[in-house]
């Protein structure tokens, strides 16, 4: 069993567990969307402390990024009826380019936590407002996030609060608030839900923002978790935050997101962090910092103990090759892999883990890797060309590609087989009109595709 003291103490490199390229790659995959060669180099050179600081603090966004992203999210570019793909593409673009990937990554965590889908909300403005709410508190206060979510327009539509009235309360939000957003099953009663539902009556949307209409609100006394009062929605959220189960529930979920999905978080490891989290007033940034700096985060049992999400899979390829990809076609391709941003399958979010991979999504991943790197796919063109990346970094083909994507850490046979392939390629009959450059570029791209289909590359 893992000793909690050791697990959460800050990691220090040792001979047995040195700071190396693999650890830099691990950190960039978990805390962001993958590393470039330059980031891997700098991480190794600067050491763990400086690299962790850099990731946790994030960089300031460039003016260009900030303005372009804001423009793309403006009412003119993204009216309320904007199609789903435009929303998901907008966020994907941020994930690929943000100077603070950790904040975007945690926003994705909260999106999966408060899983709201534009398939029902059908209002891009509301979805963007919810994004901004989550992004603002991504590394901030979960208390504020949970309370504010009760009057978030997208959420009000998503879980039917807008139609819940004093005469006939709708239980949808009250139930998911407790079951999925704050406590987890087994920590409330059906009576708590029915009483809490009364507190959420009368909320509607006025001028695009959530607002309480007192005429439809049930102002009677309610009893929730044994406490009575004329509660409103925010009171119920605060009552949930007071429950012992609440910080534990969030820590467990964050453990699965940042540490491991190979097993459930053991209570011994959850409890001390939950206690700190509660004491800190639900400071998520602090909690994330403890987790990412910890011995456990850099331990062998944590390395590659997750299956990459489709978003992680795709962004990792684009970032690794220092390429660009049209965010719209990329968003469309991710649908085939099972992840549409702003449209999770249910209020429970994406199941994640092994559920990401099945016959179709696996072929989808292989084929997306090919489309991105072959330069022959009309959707993506040649903006993410492994041959260009190799030329920039000047290495051996196999060494370079295994290095940037997997830090060279693969089954021994992989390297040999890829080298054999290159050797054998000499006898391949290439089309007569291919130039020498065409032939060598084709080999780089083919090897890139083969590397991206390795089972190891599916892991995070």
């Amino acid at each position: 069993m893992t000793d909690p003291k050791w697990a959460w103490a800050p990691y220090e490199p040792s001979d047995a567990n040195p700071w190396d390229r693999r650890k830099v790659g691990h950190l960039y995959r978990r805390a962001g969307f993958g590393a470039t060669v330059a980031e891997l180099d700098a991480g190794v050179k600067d050491g763990h402390a400086k690299t962790l600081d850099r990731i946790l603090n994030g960089g300031p966004e460039s003016e260009d990024f900030t303005e372009t992203s804001a423009f793309m999210a403006s009412e003119r570019s993204m009216p309320s009826g904007a199609p789903q793909e435009r929303l998901s593409a907008w966020w994907l673009d941020r994930m690929l380019k943000s100077a603070h990937p950790l904040r975007e990554k945690l926003t994705l965590f909260w999106h999966n936590h408060f899983a709201t889908s534009n398939a029902k909300v059908k209002n891009a403005r509301f979805m963007l407002d919810q994004y901004h709410l989550m992004q603002k508190h991504a590394l901030g206060s979960f208390r504020e996030l949970l309370v504010s979510m009760g009057t978030d327009s997208a959420m009000l539509v998503w879980l039917d609060t807008t139609t819940s009235t004093k005469a006939a309360p709708n239980e949808n939000y009250a139930r998911e608030l407790m079951e999925l957003f704050s406590l987890g099953i087994g920590n409330y009663t059906e009576r708590d839900i029915r009483e809490a539902a009364k507190a959420f009556t009368g909320y509607g949307i006025s001028y695009g923002k959530g607002a309480l209409n007192y005429r439809q609100h049930d102002n009677s006394e309610k009893t929730v978790f044994g406490k009575s009062g004329k509660f409103k929605g925010d009171d119920i959220a605060k009552l949930c935050l007071e429950q012992e189960a609440c910080p534990r529930f969030i820590v467990r979920k964050l453990y699965r997101f940042l540490i491991s999905e190979a097993h459930d978080a053991p209570p011994d490891l959850v409890n001390p962090l939950a206690e700190e989290y509660r004491k800190s007033g639900f400071d998520t940034g602090k909690l994330v910092s403890v987790m990412l700096r910890s011995n456990l985060f850099f331990a062998k049992e944590t390395y590659r103990s997750k299956i990459k999400s489709p978003v992680e899979f795709a962004t990792g390829i684009v970032r690794g090759l220092e390429g660009t990809a049209g965010a719209l076609p990329l968003a469309e391709a991710l649908e085939g892999l099972g992840q549409v941003l702003f449209a999770p399958p249910s209020v429970k979010g994406w199941d994640g883990g092994q559920a990401w991979l099945n016959a179709q999504t696996l072929l989808g991943r292989n084929n997306l890797a090919l489309a991105l790197t072959s330069t022959e796919d009309t959707r993506f063109g040649s903006r993410c060309d492994p041959a260009v990346a190799l030329a920039k970094h000047n290495g051996e083909i196999v060494d370079f590609l295994l290095g940037v994507f997997l830090q060279g850490d693969v089954q021994p046979a992989a390297c040999d087989k890829l080298l054999d392939y290159l050797k054998a390629a000499k006898s391949v009959k290439y089309p007569a009109y291919w130039s020498v450059g065409d032939v060598s570029n084709h080999r780089v791209r083919a090897v890139a595709h083969l590397v991206l289909t390795l089972p190891e590359f599916q892991l995070n």
Binding site: L159, P169, S260, R445, A446
Partner: protein
């Protein structure tokens, strides 16, 4: 049409060897026993209605005045329902299933199905139905255990954003999820045929290499899991594409999500690969608001279910498979008897299940749950869902129900006696 024998002749499939549990390798075993004279090759198709289907507006007690009191805006008028008996009817959108009931005697309705201490969380209640057990934190499903007891190929027919159901977990080989048979190809950018073959060899070789790394197979055996999924996929993809090409439905299918999935099931059944369990889901039944009555959101869903299953039945009947077929519908719970203020219904409990096929005992099993003796406003179940499962297991699939469900459940009369 490709026959089972053709399919199994392909040595490249079996060439993966015994260390690799491809589901097609399993199908070889299953098919051999199915070829024996007298061996059963019955098929179960589970249709999951995700979100909590409103049973009260599906199987309607249309002569009961309390029904109309509980549902002032949602109730279906007497003259609109599709009558099955003097006091029980289908929703008007279920005309096609009503026809199968009256004209083909191919529909059995089990009323008031549920389990003790009903849970009103979608996710917990769904887990209970999938696990076939009310034990906490289930890790495998009733169909997964069924496949373990009696291995055969099985399929989850789902779109890309649908994850494999817990019900199928625990099967000896991972049950593949398939959305279409056409699109199932591993692509390559090859300079020539030989180059393509070389690339493909590397991809499949290195897929199997991942799992063979002992301790580096990684925490929780994730690398091994990826390896196995890759190998299953590569072994099956092109074969499946071939099956799809030659199929001609005998009746048109509705162009709906469910219709397309059931058509795919028909292709796989007729393709003769020995698959006996299919799983499909249709989402959208969580009708907290704007549920609609004779028309509207819920009606559209029920029409999809009714038209889809009916086309599936008639298509398979045309291909000579109707007596092998049993479709079974369920939902994680029914909905509150009284409608809410959003012209919808909140989470409830007891609800009907439907069984459709050439060998089901047409009729209605059990009484409609009382509309006056409610529990917390919910309909009380009379039949435990595991009784229906047990019947399907014992009398349809020929599997020891006690072993699968971990207890004895009294069978329900849903199949015609042979």
């Amino acid at each position: 049409m490709s026959t089972r024998r053709d399919f199994l002749k392909d040595s490249s499939l079996l060439g993966f060897g015994a260390t690799i549990p491809t589901f097609l390798g399993q199908s070889a075993l299953a098919a051999r026993t199915a070829d024996k004279p007298g061996a059963k090759d019955t098929i179960l198709v589970v249709v999951q209605l995700t979100g909590g289907n409103d049973g009260l507006n599906t199987v309607i007690p249309f002569t009961n005045a309390d029904y109309y009191k509980l549902r002032p805006t949602l109730a279906i008028a007497k003259d609109k329902v599709k009558k099955l008996t003097d006091d029980i009817a289908f929703h008007p959108a279920m005309a096609e299933l009503a026809k199968l009931y009256t004209e083909e005697s191919a529909v059995c309705v089990v009323q008031g199905v549920g389990y003790p201490n009903p849970d009103q969380s979608h996710f917990r209640s769904m887990d209970i139905w999938h696990a076939g057990s009310t034990a906490a934190n289930p890790t495998d499903g009733w169909l997964g255990r069924t496949l373990k007891a009696k291995p055969s190929p099985a399929f989850h027919l789902g779109a890309n954003n649908e994850t494999s159901p817990l019900a199928l977990a625990g099967a000896p080989v991972r049950v593949p999820s398939v959305a279409s048979l056409d699109d199932n190809k591993l692509k390559m950018s090859a300079a020539s045929g030989a180059d393509g073959a070389a690339q493909k060899n590397i991809i499949t070789d290195l897929a199997s290499g991942g799992g063979k790394q002992g301790e580096s197979s990684g925490p929780g055996g994730l690398l091994d899991f990826v390896s196995r999924t890759q190998m299953n996929t590569y072994a099956s993809s092109e074969k499946l594409a071939a099956i799809g090409k030659s199929y001609k439905p005998k009746v048109p299918y509705p162009n709906t999500a469910l219709g397309n999935k059931l058509k795919l099931a028909a292709q796989l059944i007729d393709g003769g690969i020995g698959a006996r369990i299919f799983y499909v889901a249709l989402d959208g039944f969580d009708t907290h608001s704007g549920q609609g009555g004779a028309t509207g959101a819920h009606a559209d869903l029920l029409r999809q279910v009714s038209d889809g299953i009916s086309a599936f039945y008639r298509d398979l009947a045309g291909h000579g498979h109707k007596d092998r077929l049993c479709v079974m519908t369920f939902s994680e719970f029914g909905r509150r008897a009284k409608e809410n203020g959003s012209k919808g219904t909140d989470h409830g409990s007891g609800a009907p299940m439907l069984l459709v096929g050439g060998n089901v005992k047409a009729g209605i099993v059990g009484d409609h749950p009382s509309l006056t003796k409610l529990e917390d406003g919910n309909l009380v179940h009379a039949t435990d869902f595991r009784r229906v499962y047990a019947t399907v297991l014992e009398r349809w699939l020929g599997v020891d129900a006690k072993a699968v469900l971990g207890g004895e459940f009294k069978p329900v009369e849903v199949f015609a006696k042979k």
